[in-house]
Symmetry: D2
Subunit: 376 residues, 4 copies
């Protein structure tokens, strides 16, 4: 079983990811990890911080000469800005009265976290709750993707909607994977231009926006996940993975909510005889039936809420005084849907790699490969 543990504060020394259960013998492409981190920091509508910081992953353990050993792999992402924060963040001792935040920000973890952890300073909550954590998930996710790729399984995706600008097309990823735009990660250039205009409009009003991302998995054989216990259901596990991404408020697979609105005859994917077995002409199930992959492409969508930090400031209350204040705007992204898409791909790849390794077992990449090939 592959498991990921992450740690690290947004303005602390850095972020840590420990991946356990990777087989020995996987060649890790560091360049691809850093490229993925660059995509996470990109996208029309991102603020200043992203352009300054360029994340570079460092591997601290589990890899020798670019190849995994079968031991836990640790990835470290240095926070390049730490020197500016050391005085108020250092574990070894610092002045915690600096950068105190008491005006709890709506849409953030501040309010609930302060109650939960008995804090009078939201800084002690937000440092970990921040989406900065997702950077190291992207790095770990890229390693998992590289493992899946050895088996012929690919994870990709695109931005389907920014605000109300939504792409209704059904794309055939087995044909066109990767042809999305670098600007916002959308497939349709005309829609993307509209989306950029919408982002500009939001920015002009000090507002923010979210969107919808679609994830695709090609090459996965039938029978991953299980119908035998509810905890093993593939859709449940992947839904949790996506919902665990900061700002995601909804997840669906296949037709998703749309399936609820149609009749059965318009939803279920009929089977037809084909060479060597059978085939389907539709994939409305999103590749999952009975909690298991059915051999078709996996299709998931996740809804990202707008970034909760608005330049114009939302109404809130100062926890120290009880007085109304405007929420501070520490970060100035207007739209981060492409980042969210990148993180969702990573989250999916991590959980899927775990599912795959549970079914295949195995201690080496060669073992996983030969077992995967032997599956029906």
């Amino acid at each position: 079983m592959i498991t990921l543990t992450t740690a690290g504060e947004s303005h602390g020394k850095g972020l840590v990811a420990v991946l356990e259960g990777l087989p020995a013998g996987l060649t890790v492409d560091m360049g691809a990890i850093n490229a993925r981190l660059a995509v996470r920091a990109s996208g029309y509508g991102r603020g200043a911080r992203q352009t300054i910081e360029r994340d570079e992953a460092e591997i601290l353990s589990g890899v020798r000469n670019r190849v995994t050993l079968g031991s836990p792999v640790t990835v470290f992402l240095c926070n390049r800005d730490y020197e500016n924060w050391e005085a108020c963040m250092a574990p070894e001792g610092c002045d915690v009265s600096v950068r105190k935040l008491t005006g709890v920000r709506p849409g953030h973890a501040d309010y609930a976290g302060m109650k939960k952890f008995g804090q009078s300073d939201a800084r002690n909550v937000l440092e970990r709750a921040s989406a900065r954590e997702t950077a190291v998930r992207v790095a770990a996710g890229e390693i998992c993707r590289q493992l899946l790729s050895v088996l012929g399984v690919s994870v990709s995706g695109y931005v389907r909607a920014v605000g109300a600008v939504e792409d209704g097309m059904e794309y055939d990823f087995s044909a066109i994977a990767g042809e999305r735009s670098a600007v916002l990660g959308m497939m349709d250039p005309a829609l993307e231009r509209k989306a950029c205009a919408f982002i500009d409009a939001c920015a002009a009003e000090g507002d923010t926006c979210g969107g919808i991302v679609e994830l695709r998995v090609l090459g996965l054989k039938a029978g991953f996940g299980s119908c035998m216990t509810y905890r093993e259901k593939l859709d449940a596990r992947l839904a949790a993975a996506l919902m665990s991404v900061q700002a995601v408020k909804g997840v669906e697979t296949g037709l998703g909510f749309g399936a609820a609105r149609r009749r059965g005859s318009e939803v279920h994917d009929e089977l037809f005889p084909a060479e060597g077995g059978c085939m389907r002409r539709t994939n409305r199930a999103g590749g999952i039936e009975g909690g298991m992959s059915n051999g078709e492409e996996l299709v998931f969508r996740a809804a990202m809420k707008p970034i909760p930090t608005l330049k114009r400031g939302l109404n809130t209350v100062d926890a120290a005084t009880g007085k109304p204040v405007r929420a501070a705007a520490e970060r100035s992204d207007v739209c981060a849907v492409l980042a969210c898409e990148t993180v969702c791909e990573a989250a999916l790849a991590i959980e899927l790699a775990s599912v795959v390794s549970e079914r295949l077992g195995g201690d080496t990449v060669e073992e996983l490969k030969s077992r995967y090939e032997a599956l029906a």
Copy 2:
């Protein structure tokens, strides 16, 4: 930590649920469990089997004189029909050539399960994959709900849509909980009549339909779940619970997918000063910020696909011959959205009880209660 293990085949001896981690001292209301099972079997559009079978839960362990001991609680649901199936289902020996099913049914676990488990008879897959399993989750869920209720936390819900007949209202459950109709579980009688008509239309054509259910949790204090690790996020855990329910294809919380379409200023719930702290005028977040409950009502919606067994039969392939056939219709429900709603409530209650017991710890109900009351 509360964990649930379920077992049992659809036409086997019965279904088993083992609930571990319940505190000692909880009075179990068996009548309420059976009432909940009756709701699960009810609803306009259900087939013949449901009216014949009336589930009655039996407790095999963990309870003495109606009170939990702190030991694992086992619930057994006898399959009343077993005598008619014993000849082809008995563990001790039977004729497995009877009731063989080789025409893999679209929308079911048949295809993937046969590949996964090396079966030539889909019976060996479908018996466990069947939604019959959810009956025992409903029983276990009712026990968890009774535990939550001791803390003042209530779980309820209603049917929001049947097919395209959708209720767009925002209901205030703190005022009206339980006022839904018994026919289909909808809140608006006029819409429910339309929904029934839609079910009739589907039935007339040998078709089926699904719908959308909405779940509500009242009385939950802030700080359940956590922003500190992605696995502990409350929304991720509850999403997995709901997605693990048979036929659910999408889950959202608060505005959900709708949040992706709005601007930040229309999504985030501002805070205002109030007696003893602060208050909100909206709950678009569905009671969760930063992966934690924020003290507002939890709101989740789940999308159920139409029942995949259509009377008119879908096109498929016979796995034994490779020839095209019509999928068999073993079961004849047209609509089971109210059942789905009941199961979703149960799934939510089980996972939420687990989350609550992790934060509170405790070995007795009294301990949980006093710790809950001491929370901020």
Copy 3:
């Protein structure tokens, strides 16, 4: 991953075991399960209850026509005596003032359990803490042993000591497995006669005794468990399994505590060239190096304390009155080391099957078999 969940009170309706993660296609030998249960109830020094009750396992789920389906397997062991206890034990309602026990029994869970679960009646604790629970672990363990046996892995054992009567021989189980006596499970008839005499002496004085059991696993290839994380270490996992058996107070592998007393040159198993690789002339490591099986026989020993219920009654305190009393003797075994050995075999088989299934993955017995055969 194979996991076992058990439930059930000693004088309740019965005991329940749910085994999750068994592959499909395993033929379950019910006769062997019941034979194993009979051994657990046997042995010189057992009291009256054991001779009356003959446990018969019933399978409630997961098996069809004697073959596993890949779904959770439920085993039920009816408590034949329940009718005599129903009046004070029934979940549905009963008189809990009957059979109340307030004189906390030394060596039992009574004292700690009453504090933990807020009970004034030790009955509410002891019913679950009782070694009766191990019966269903024996049943589940036998199924796991049958799975291991398909791979050519056997689990066996014998009674090495009863009280101070200890067998110091090193037996070669690859040659003599199963040649132990049925009376007490010892290998040496002369020592066994001495052990029986010791049991008689204890009985005559209203006293009890324990002993030491030795477990052996033959046929396990190298590389089960792992050196890569401390939680995966095979010795740690198997030690926990054995220590979880009621009355076990110590566990060792290979030379165990004896290794601490020797020099390195007398402990480590040297390797010598052999056809097709290498061989060892000793197995002082007990088949485990670096937390992994090394291809040699696994050897574990567990120490069982004397049964804590003495006919002559130990000094204790009545929790209700605070007055000194003699502890009650509800059960009258003098020695149950053979039962303990049977349970330890089961506990070992369960955990080992879990370890094996994690490394091999797989959904069918055929898959596990071919993957096991492909291992180096």
Copy 4:
């Protein structure tokens, strides 16, 4: 629940520990962590490496101004020797033909690990299997000990035996904790001198030795662990923790194996009336009955085998050639029982902190404290 994840190779960049589930508000004493690391590196009979390297823990996350945030705490231990190993160990690229080890060392993970992970170079196995990993467990264990200490629970221990030089005394740790010698960690100076002489004798012959350590926990209330499921038993969990320490081959609690040799009347701890309840005059159970703490001192012993790397070299086989060779002696400790004791204390503290946090729940130290105080 508190969980620890460790990573890192012996000659890699360093070791990583991530502690999840610590409550917010714990003041971390870094000096105490480094002091503990110094003890781990000390002890009569240690080799050269230990005196050169002085471990200093660095905290990378989860702590601000010396106080925990409730987020995962990462500890990093730099391998000071890495610059000398970078050329053959660097993750980013290195020459893996350097420092290749093919003569599999008896008593190490080499043989099994090479088979498991398909390696022809034992370096790829031993780097992680090495006891170097325990350094970071000591650091994490010290943090857990500091948490326990806030509740008034202390974890300590001493070296009870070195080789056959064994201390048979029963020490009263509530009176004398900490009075052990710094030379070898033994309590009795005369015995310690004998132990040192034994170590000298082993060293003179190029041999090694092990020993026995005893662990004590004072201040733990009754009811930790559980009698209700076998996985929750306190003795099983702590036994696994100790057995997971490199070189430990046996674990016992209370009288342990000695209990198997006595009669029941000589083993079980009778209760007598006392002010405010009852008391015991003996603690042969080692503070655990029915899988739960009973309010007495916890007593565990672990047996450490002799260090498997002997200066004189054991017979073995070169995996590359199949020829007999002498095992290499990369490390030259003769005795490391004091180090083992330090690691065992840490392993115990980590698992115990986890057990404690499961029962108490809680997000802040204050919450844990008040809940602990409220326990019976």
